[in-house]
């Protein structure tokens, strides 16, 4: 008995101490980082704007059969609540939300609410339909009912180019409104291309550094680390300076007579700009893991293979390449994870054709102010990144991630 408790305290103490050391940071990250992510996800499914502004109308609409226009009492309640919303200045937001379900309703709401001030008495049904025929359309009431839900999956459907129909089924968006799946696909393809480019460019460099004499290797490593440490905005600016129409490379090509002054190449503010600048930014993340794996491969192996009669391609492909696969996997996954969420570089040098999913999230955050849709797109992107991150942990191990 005595020895038993002793063992317990012996193992419990260090465990408590270790946990006590990690706990402050865990709490800090939970509050400053995880809570914000959770808030974003809540925004993507929870929106009480319409429900708060038209509570009585929505309660009455629950009883509504949905086939013909609602009763007079619904109209009277809606008119009262619209006027109230106009007074406390929430009408604009309510109109915007309903408009997202059924476009065209924004002006119906704002205009009708203004004109209802002059309507002294009922019947409200005739009065409202008289103001705007949209009030006689069942779709308008379906839209109000749908926008009035506290919780909705509509933004996620929207982010996948789907829409809920009034009968509860789900259908694809009309062709002209299908944009997000194509954008997700483009983001995936672009990230894959950048990963491939980084591997293609990074592999020989890592090989050269790994098998150079230490003094030269250190120098070459510095050449890789300088861009790694240099501000992202600086590197993006450099690419603008180099690639723009009146930029250094076009000037050089014109001076050399390779292109005419009117035939200057458009290499930036399009997909080319995004590809070139992002490959440059992410290349060190490929080189460093490759280098640390290659350094451990004894150079004697290659000459041994050669002395056994293998051609240089054979000895590379059969002996060297398989041993570098852990580095290839680690570098590629890291570059891919960083690429699919990239925002800054495409925003600055991508023009209209080089934008990725992150730029769409920023657009909905800052310009269209459709925060719920931004949250849903962010949620989808987050799921992809978490999946890749777990894969990275499984294959490489997060604790083996190195910097520089």
């Amino acid at each position: 008995m005595q020895s038993n408790t002793n063992i317990k305290t012996n193992t419990l103490r260090p465990r408590l101490r270790a946990t006590g050391l990690v706990l402050p940071l865990l709490a800090f990250i939970a509050v400053t980082f995880i809570a914000p992510l959770a808030t974003m996800l809540v925004h993507s499914v929870y929106d009480p704007t319409v429900a708060d502004a038209l509570p009585e109308t929505l309660k009455l609409l629950k009883e509504w059969d949905g086939n013909s226009t609602p009763d007079e009492v619904v109209y009277a309640t809606a008119a009262r609540e619209l006027l109230k919303a106009r007074q406390d200045r929430s009408l604009g937001r309510v109109a915007t939300r309903v408009n997202r379900v059924h476009s065209g309703l924004r002006s119906v709401f704002t205009r009708s609410a203004r004109e209802l001030q002059d309507v002294r008495e009922g019947p409200w049904r005739d009065a409202m339909i008289g103001l705007n025929t949209a009030w006689g359309d069942v779709q308008t009431w379906h839209a109000i009912r749908s926008a009035g839900a506290h919780f909705t999956a509509r933004h996620y459907l929207n982010a996948l180019d789907l829409q809920p129909l009034s009968d509860g089924s789900i259908d694809r968006q009309p062709p002209e409104r299908r944009i997000y799946l194509a954008l997700l696909w483009r983001t995936f393809i672009v990230s894959l291309s950048i990963t491939a480019l980084c591997l293609l460019l990074g592999y020989p460099i890592a090989h050269l550094i790994a098998h150079s004499p230490p003094r030269i290797a250190n120098l070459l490593l510095i050449l890789v680390l300088v861009p790694f440490w240099t501000s992202l905005l600086v590197r993006t600016t450099s690419w603008i300076v180099l690639l723009q129409t009146q930029g250094v490379i076009n000037d050089l090509l014109v001076t050399l007579g390779l292109i005419g002054d009117d035939g200057r190449l458009a290499m930036i503010y399009n997909m080319t700009g995004t590809l070139v600048a992002m490959t440059h930014v992410l290349l060190p993340f490929m080189i460093l893991p490759l280098y640390s794996i290659m350094r451990a491969i004894p150079p004697g192996q290659m000459s041994a293979a050669a002395s056994l009669g293998a051609s240089s391609f054979q000895s590379f492909w059969r002996v060297y390449w398989p041993q570098t696969l852990p580095g290839v996997g680690a570098g590629s996954l890291l570059v891919f994870i960083l690429a699919i969420g990239y925002y800054i570089t495409p925003a600055l040098v991508g023009g209209s054709t080089g934008q990725l999913i992150s730029n769409m999230i920023a657009y909905h955050m800052q310009t269209s102010l459709n925060w719920s849709l931004a949250g849903a797109l962010g949620g989808i992107l987050l799921v992809c990144v978490i999946a890749l991150y777990l894969l990275y942990d499984r294959i490489v191990g997060i604790d083996r991630m190195k910097l520089g």
Binding site: L21, T32, I205, S231, Y389
Partner: protein, 275 residues
């Protein structure tokens, strides 16, 4: 046989040279252009002739005279230093705990603590905007310091755990057996040995904050404009060669940071305990 091998070797070295040029040229090209006397982003004929008249310091003078840049620098330093201090203190403690084999759920805790580094910054920024706005911390220095500290901690955790993995635990045991308290052991034995890792981590965290623009874009107001925020505005709206002068400063700063970190790394490798 020999000659094809030679051609192969030559092609390999030539392509390596080109790739290094791809890595470095964009950074080098900025430096001379920042001394351009004309408001262009390309080399003028005078510059190519090395005409002294074609070079000037006018863009550097503009930085010093422009209050937006000096204010930006002050904001960047305040936010950068405060968030680095916070990230370094919390990150070092956590790394000490994570390096102990007794730590329960080590792998999960590590994954959680590193996650701010791999989460797309647009998602972090959007979430922080919602969350800190609800606490009335958006458009405050405190809000930005907390966000930047969160983004910087993974770097501290990674560098310090890496240094600790090479730490000889017999040293702490020896100190304890000689009667030193855990705090004294940490201060006199552990800290001096892991110091290079801690400083490297702090420099990474500072560099992260000093280069961060998206969170500032979403959460910062006029009063919180930092250097990167100012550059962002410059690149997006009215691009002026002043940006190239600022960029040259930042490149010099990056080289300084890099050399310090490399020096620390070598120091830590050279110390006998770390082997």
């Amino acid at each position: 046989m020999i000659s094809t091998q030679r051609i192969g070797r030559g092609a390999y070295l030539a392509s390596c040279t080109l790739i290094f040029a791809f890595l470095i040229a964009p950074i080098l090209v900025i430096v001379p252009l920042s001394f351009n006397a004309e408001p262009y982003f390309t080399f003028t004929e005078g510059m190519l002739r090395l005409d002294a008249e074609a070079y000037s310091l006018r863009w550097y003078r503009q930085i010093i005279e422009n209050e937006l840049w000096t204010r930006g620098l002050i904001n960047s330093l305040i936010i950068g230093i405060a968030s680095t201090a916070l990230a370094t203190a919390l990150g070092t403690l956590a790394a000490l705990g994570l390096s102990s084999p007794a730590m329960p759920g080590r792998r999960f805790a590590m994954a959680l603590l590193i996650s701010p580094m791999v989460t797309p910054v647009i998602i972090s920024a959007a979430g922080m905007f919602f969350f800190y706005s609800s606490l009335s911390l958006a458009q405050t220095h405190i809000g930005l310091i907390l966000s930047h500290a969160a983004l910087g901690t993974p770097f501290v955790v990674i560098t310090v755990t890496a240094t600790l993995s090479a730490f000889d635990t017999n040293l702490t045991r020896a100190a304890a057996s000689l009667g030193a308290s855990p705090l004294l052991t940490f201060r006199r034995v552990q800290l001096p040995i892991i110091a290079p890792g801690v400083i490297s981590g702090a420099l990474f965290a500072f560099a992260t904050s000093f280069d961060e623009v998206v969170v500032v874009l979403f959460m910062g107001g006029i009063e919180q404009r930092t250097i990167p925020r100012q550059m962002w505005a410059g690149i997006r709206e009215q691009i002026s060669p002043t940006i190239l002068a600022v960029a040259t400063f930042l490149i010099a700063f990056a080289v300084l940071l890099l050399l310090t970190v490399e020096w620390l790394r070598r120091r830590s490798v050279a110390s006998p305990q770390a082997d």
